[in-house]
Structures are given as structure tokens and as C-alpha cells.
């Protein structure tokens, strides 16, 4: 390790023990408090698996059916618990199969440590069997990565990996360990990492900036708060709620910020973005002060930047200085941890209510309700809608289940119509939009929070991208509830083809297998619903089940998700049909 790093030994200077690098890997994980890891064995990581076998009482290794599944499971684990998820794989294809999950964790700021085996250091660069330059490949999609070629460097590399993954704005890291480093012996002791010289994860909140922010907020006639996942990652849910309630400011959320404040809260005005609610999108362009908290102005939220909130002064609370002015120019930028910054802000904001401003949100909600929401969740047409299924599941789980979604129409519908009462209840692939994320992520979520009801909701397309993880559910007896909303289409792409490509449905219609039989093939209880009148009972049976359960709901084939901000359009031009 070339980088000056501060390590701290919690257990007063233990005597080093002489062990192999591979045993050190497992002991490091145990020392970091890891209880569950996800992975897939193979040649270059076999020494570590041999140690996992010996330590199976202390660390639970979950064999997924594909390395991508291991990363998504680790992500689900991290997202519901706030802890670092761990995935492990062999070199070559094992390592490259991790990349999608790593990229997903990078863009969604999910703390994850990936450990990969590598060919022996003498073979590096020689095109050896199952050799890939995984450090090179993963560089653009990791927060940090490194290759270890000597056993004695393993503890510091893993200590740094956990520290970097979790601190500041979290993210994925990868540690690549050559096979000879796993085999060779050294004197092991473990010290946790508490600082890296060149890395300042949390900027100290500048109180003067908070005061400037408070002044803008207090003088605003139509202030509007938009929050993102930074609130959840920073455990600032309560602080946000207090600021909102004291200031009386309407607040909306990005998809990854969902559930930080209960959906039913009177000042929660809904979801932002392309398929978000009508009012928060429209009124972003009407507010006079826009207060962004722990969000990064993703293009799915802003639509065209040239017409985004141009009338408003922008206050940006953010932990990552690279996000300031990246997409939207901030008039006041408050760098720092959301929890601390909001604690400092709270006493400085005036107690107020903004009733007529809030009424504008309510009026627009009425329009959206009549035009879109009502026909979605109380349909009068024959076919089952995605909205009514989500609503049924949500009501029966009292808004307390963690909903893990895949990517596409069902995802937008779930975020729109599920009422969340508990934080960390919406686990989904936001930034990368990874189809296939849902099922394995739900496995990780359920294992991290076995006391919670975890419902995986996928479309028929994304489900089949990681369907093999049913094997993991079966083998591990993970009591996750798996719902597939089947419209025999790649629905979201089909919707775009209908709206923007003159209904040319290029490669979006799917001829699907019998999903019930497939689930039953894995000995998972399964049911298919095709009619509305069967829905309530089927959901009841699913929720009542103590075991994993699969429910397929055949929904209307060509329903669309509205409202919609067409790609590249202004959020003011949000369409209701």
C-alpha cells in the first residue's frame, strides 16, 4: 500500500498469528462484522472458499446462481440495512460478471465490497487461464479498487476497502487478490481503517452557508424541498421531517429518496421525475426557492436543464462537492453530511405554513388523480392494471413491506402507488436502470432484515434476466415474496415505441414460459392470477405464507405509465396522457 493510511486496533494489540492470505481474508471480514456474503466459487478464489468452509459458523456464504446475482443481493442487503454488502467471485468471467452490479452500486451510492480472486502474480499480464484485468475494467465504476499480490498486504487492503465503501458518499470497492497471495503465510493482525490521508469523505458543514440557506428559505414565498437518497444514507429522516414540519415547506422525493418520509405525510407532495407526480414536476418551475437535499439533479428528475427551475434560487445540501453545479447551478451550496447540516438548519428556519402554495400542489394532484391515478388503481376496464396490484399488496402489507423492484413500467407504478410508512422500503435500481436487479436484491434485503416483509416486484422481462436466483431462494429458504406483473411485453420500451416510434414494436413482445411451473420446479409455492376477482385472495395467500411464494399476475398488455415527461422535454411539459 503506497497511500498513508491510519489504522486502529480495537482489541488492544493482539499478538499476530501466522496464517495464510486466504484465511486472512475471512478473518478480516469477520473483524469487519460481516455475517453474510454472496458469491460463486472458481479456480482463483478456491483458497478463500476453503477457509469459508472452515469458518461457516461465523460467516454465512450464500451461493447465488450467477455472480451478477451476488452483487445485486449484496446491494439489497446494503440498501435495507445501511451496512456494507459483500460479494465474492473468482477471476476472469467471475469477476467480469460482477461489473453490472458494481456499476449499479456506484451510480446509486451503495456501500459494497467485492473480493475477486486473480491468477498468480507470476502469471499477471500473460493471458493466463481466466485472467482479466479486473482492476482496469472496474476502475471507472468503483469508488476505489486495488490489486493485492502479497499476503501481508491483505489486511490493510480490506480495512481500507470497508472504510472507503461506507464513508462519505458510499460506493462499491473491489479488492483483487492473486492466488499466490492467498496461499502464502504471514503474521496476521487486523486493524480497522479510520482515515486515508488523501481522502476527506465528509466535508465539515460551514455554518455561514447554512445561515445563507436559512435566509433564502425564510424569505421565500413559494419554497420547495426536493430530497434524495442522501437523506437515507445520512440517516437524516427525522431531521428532514422536523425541518419540513417547522418550515411548512412542501417536499417531494427522487426515486431513491422514496420512503424517507412517509408517503401519507401532509407535506409529502410526491415523486419527482419522468414518471413522477404531476404537481411536483410542474411546480418545480413555479417555486421561488428550490431546496435540494442529498440529491444530484439526475436528468430523469430535471428533464431539459435549460428550462429547469430557472425562476428559482437554488439551495443545494450535498455531501459530494463534485455534485455542486454539475447539472444545476446552486445559489447557496451547503457541503456536508445531511444529518448535521439539517440539524444546524432547523433552529434557523422560521416556523411557518404555506397554505395557499400547498393548495397549488393539492389542486394539481386532483387533476392527476382523476385523469391517471383513479383509472390506474380503481380500473373499470376488464384487464388487470399494474396499479391495482401494487395497491392491493401495499394495503395488505400496511405500507410496511420493503418493496424491491426491477426496472421498467412496474417499477414506476410501484414507486407511484405504494404508500411507504418506513424508511428504506423502496429498493430499486435508480441510476443505472438495471433490469434483473429486483429478484436477487430482494434475496439480500430479506436476509438482512428477516423480520420485514420483502416483496420483489418484477416485469416479465427483467425477471427472466436473473430468474435463476430462484435457485438461491429455494436452497437458502429465503421467505421472499416474488411477484411478476406479466404483460408479455418489455412494457416501458413498448410504451416509448408507441409514443415516439409510431408503434413499431421492435423486439419488445415476449413469448413467455409458464412462470408458475418454473417456480414450482424450484419447489416454490406458486400461483397465477388472470382476473381481478382473484387478486385479493391471491395476495392474502402470498402475504400469509411463511415460505417463499411466487405470484404471477397477468396484466393488461398495452397499458402506459403516465404522467410522463418525454425524454429531453421540460418538466413543465409533463403529459397526463
Amino acid at each position: 500500500m503506497e497511500t498513508p493510511t491510519i489504522l486502529k486496533n480495537n482489541e488492544s494489540k493482539k499478538k499476530p498469528i501466522r496464517i495464510t492470505g486466504s484465511e486472512a481474508v475471512v478473518r478480516c471480514l469477520i473483524a469487519e462484522g460481516v455475517k453474510t456474503i454472496y458469491g460463486y466459487p472458481g479456480g482463483a478464489i478456491m483458497p478463500v472458499y476453503d477457509e469459508l468452509f472452515k469458518f461457516e459458523n461465523q460467516i454465512h456464504h450464500v451461493l447465488t446462481r450467477h455472480e451478477q446475482g451476488a452483487t445485486h443481493a449484496a446491494q439489497g442487503y446494503a440498501r435495507i440495512s445501511g451496512k456494507v454488502g459483500v460479494a465474492i467471485a473468482t477471476s476472469g468471467p467471475g469477476a467480469t460478471n460482477l461489473i453490472t452490479g458494481i456499476a449499479d452500486a456506484q451510480i446509486d451510492s451503495t456501500p459494497m465490497v467485492c473480493i475477486t480472486g486473480q491468477v498468480s502474480s507470476s502469471l499477471l499480464g500473460s493471458d493466463a487461464f481466466q485472467e482479466t484485468d479486473i482492476v482496469g475494467i472496474s476502475t471507472p465504476v468503483t469508488k476505489w479498487n486495488c490489486q493485492v499480490t502479497r499476503a501481508e498486504d491483505i489486511p490493510e487492503a480490506i480495512a481500507k476497502a470497508f472504510y472507503i465503501a461506507k464513508s462519505g458518499r458510499p460506493g462499491p470497492v473491489l479488492v483483487d487478490i492473486t492466488k499466490d497471495a492467498q496461499f502464502s503465510e504471514f503474521d496476521f493482525s487486523y486493524e480497522k481503517c479510520i482515515a486515508v490521508r488523501s481522502y476527506k469523505p465528509v466535508p465539515k458543514t460551514n455554518i455561514d452557508k447554512v445561515k445563507e440557506a436559512a435566509e433564502l428559505i425564510n424569505n421565500a414565498k413559494k419554497p420547495f424541498i426536493i430530497w434524495g437518497q442522501g437523506v437515507i444514507l445520512g440517516q437524516a429522516e427525522q431531521e428532514l421531517k422536523e425541518v419540513i414540519e417547522k418550515s411548512g415547506i412542501p417536499a417531494a422525493w427522487t426515486i431513491l429518496g422514496a420512503s424517507a418520509i412517509p408517503t401519507s405525510h401532509p407535506l409529502n407532495v410526491g415523486m419527482l421525475g419522468m414518471h413522477g407526480n404531476y404537481a411536483p414536476n410542474k411546480l418545480t418551475n413555479e417555486c421561488d426557492v428550490l431546496i435540494a437535499i442529498g440529491m444530484r439533479f439526475d436528468d430523469r428528475v430535471t428533464g431539459s436543464l435549460t428550462t429547469y427551475a430557472k425562476q428559482a434560487k437554488v439551495v443545494h445540501f450535498e455531501i459530494d462537492s463534485a455534485e455542486i453545479d454539475k447539472n444545476v447551478k446552486a445559489d447557496v451550496a451547503v457541503l456536508g453530511d445531511a444529518k448535521i447540516s439539517l440539524q444546524l438548519l432547523l433552529p434557523l428556519v422560521d416556523k411557518k405554513s404555506h397554505n395557499s402554495w400547498l393548495q397549488e400542489f393539492k389542486d394539481l394532484y386532483e387533476i392527476e388523480y382523476n385523469k391517471v391515478i383513479k383509472p390506474d388503481i380503481h380500473p373499470t376496464k376488464e384487464g388487470v392494471t399494474m396499479g391495482e396490484v401494487i395497491k392491493e399488496i401495499n394495503i395488505q402489507t400496511k405500507g410496511e413491506a420493503a418493496i424491491v423492484t426491477d426496472v421498467g413500467q412496474h417499477q414506476m407504478v410501484a414507486c407511484r402507488y405504494a404508500d411507504f410508512n418506513v424508511s428504506k422500503s423502496n429498493i430499486t435500481s435508480g441510476g443505472l436502470g438495471t433490469m434483473g436487479f429486483g429478484l436477487p436484491a430482494a434475496i439480500g434485503a430479506k436476509m438482512a432484515a428477516p423480520e420485514r416483509e420483502v416483496v420483489s416486484i418484477s416485469g416479465d422481462g427483467g425477471y427472466q434476466m436473473t430468474i435463476q436466483e430462484l435457485g438461491t431462494i429455494f436452497q437458502q429458504k429465503v421467505a421472499v415474496k416474488v411477484v411478476v406483473l406479466n404483460n408479455d411485453f418489455l412494457g416501458m420500451v413498448r410504451q416509448w415505441q408507441q409514443l415516439f416510434f409510431d408503434r413499431r414494436y421492435a423486439s419488445t413482445e415476449m413469448t413467455n414460459p409458464d412462470f408458475v411451473k418454473i417456480a414450482e420446479g424450484y419447489y416454490i409455492k406458486a400461483k397465477r392470477v388472470t382476473k381481478r376477482e382473484e387478486l385479493t385472495a391471491a395476495v392474502e395467500e402470498m402475504i400469509a405464507s411463511k415460505d417463499p411464494y411466487f405470484l404471477e399476475v397477468c396484466v393488461e398488455k398495452e397499458d402506459n405509465v403516465f404522467p410522463m415527461v418525454p425524454s429531453g422535454a421540460s418538466i413543465s411539459d409533463i403529459r397526463l396522457e
Binding site: P4, G136, R197, S198, K200
Partner: protein, 177 residues
């Protein structure tokens, strides 16, 4: 001015780390930016490296790129400077047939006037070294090229800033906090 492309010199102070060059260059690549020149070397602080990168882009974009570079774990600090704020040099090497040196008086004059230095001379060839700004090297190249150049190469830019950068104090603070 903000949206007009211009040359910027980027100085990055980093830990000495395998793979960091890849990480930094990937940030330019993502935005489809061609790096004009790049140089890495030790800096004034023991154990700390300094990257000097020259790019042609807008100030608005370079600011964002600096943010993304600084975000890398092993980057201590990154700066961008305009041409006016830096003192910079590049270096060029010219390999030329020795016959020309003795046969053509004019070459001797060119060498003298350009303040180029003769690094080595043998029977077959001699090597000239010239440091300066890009235009000065180009000028020398054009003059020598009339007689024939066997080999020519030019280094990336190295630069120091007119302003103080205070890296040492920054490193002290980082470890004390």
C-alpha cells in the same frame, strides 16, 4: 469566456499509486476529451506525485472535471490554471546527422541562436536538446527540418503556478483532523 474553449493546465497532487493514472484518464475519456499532453513526476513533497495535464476545453467543463478528479480517493488536490497563471516548459530532442554539423555553417548558427544544447555527438549523429514553449520548439523544428531530422520527440508540458498551492499545509490538516 466561460463557454469558450481554451488551453488549461491541470495540476493534480496524488498519492503514488498504481492505477491512478487510469482513473484520472478515464474521467477525461468519459466526456470525450482529448488530452493534449500529460506528465507525471514527483512533486516538492516526498512521496507525493504531481500530474500535469494539458487540455483544451471550456472553463465550465474543466471545473466539473476537477471536481470528479478530486473525488478520487488517492487524489490529494487538483487545480486548473489558465495560460496566464502558469510558468511552463516543454523539452524537445532532435537527432541529426553529424555530417551536417560540419558541412553546413548555417546549422551551427541555428543552434546558437536557439539556445539549444548539444547533448551528445558521435560520428553518425548528434542530439540537440531544447527547452521552451511549444512555439519555440516548433520554430527550431521548422528550421532544422530543412536540413533533415533523423528523429524528433517532444515532452509533455511541465508547469509551476504563479500562485502558492499550499499542499503541505493541506496534507498536515488532513491527518490532524
Amino acid at each position: 469566456m466561460k463557454n469558450q474553449k481554451q488551453l488549461f493546465t491541470v495540476s493534480i497532487y496524488t498519492e503514488n499509486n498504481i492505477g491512478l493514472l487510469n482513473r484520472v484518464s478515464a474521467i477525461f475519456q468519459r466526456r470525450h476529451i482529448n488530452v493534449e499532453s500529460i506528465n507525471t513526476s514527483p512533486s516538492e513533497i516526498i512521496g507525493v506525485s504531481r500530474f500535469t495535464i494539458v487540455v483544451y476545453m471550456t472553463e465550465e467543463d474543466i471545473k466539473k472535471i476537477i471536481g470528479q478528479i478530486e473525488k478520487q480517493v488517492e487524489v490529494i488536490k487538483a487545480y486548473y490554471h489558465t495560460e496566464e497563471n502558469t510558468i511552463y516548459q516543454i523539452s524537445g530532442l532532435f537527432k541529426i546527422k553529424s555530417d551536417l554539423l560540419f558541412e553546413d555553417r548555417q546549422i551551427q548558427n541555428i543552434i546558437k541562436e536557439s539556445n539549444a544544447r548539444i547533448v551528445t555527438v558521435n560520428k553518425e549523429f548528434f542530439v540537440l536538446e531544447k527547452s521552451g514553449r511549444k512555439e519555440e520548439l516548433q520554430d527550431l523544428y521548422d528550421k532544422l527540418n530543412e536540413f533533415g531530422i533523423m528523429q524528433y520527440t517532444r515532452s509533455g508540458r511541465i508547469a509551476v503556478t504563479k500562485d502558492e498551492l499550499k499542499i503541505s499545509t493541506m496534507l498536515q490538516e488532513a491527518f490532524n483532523n
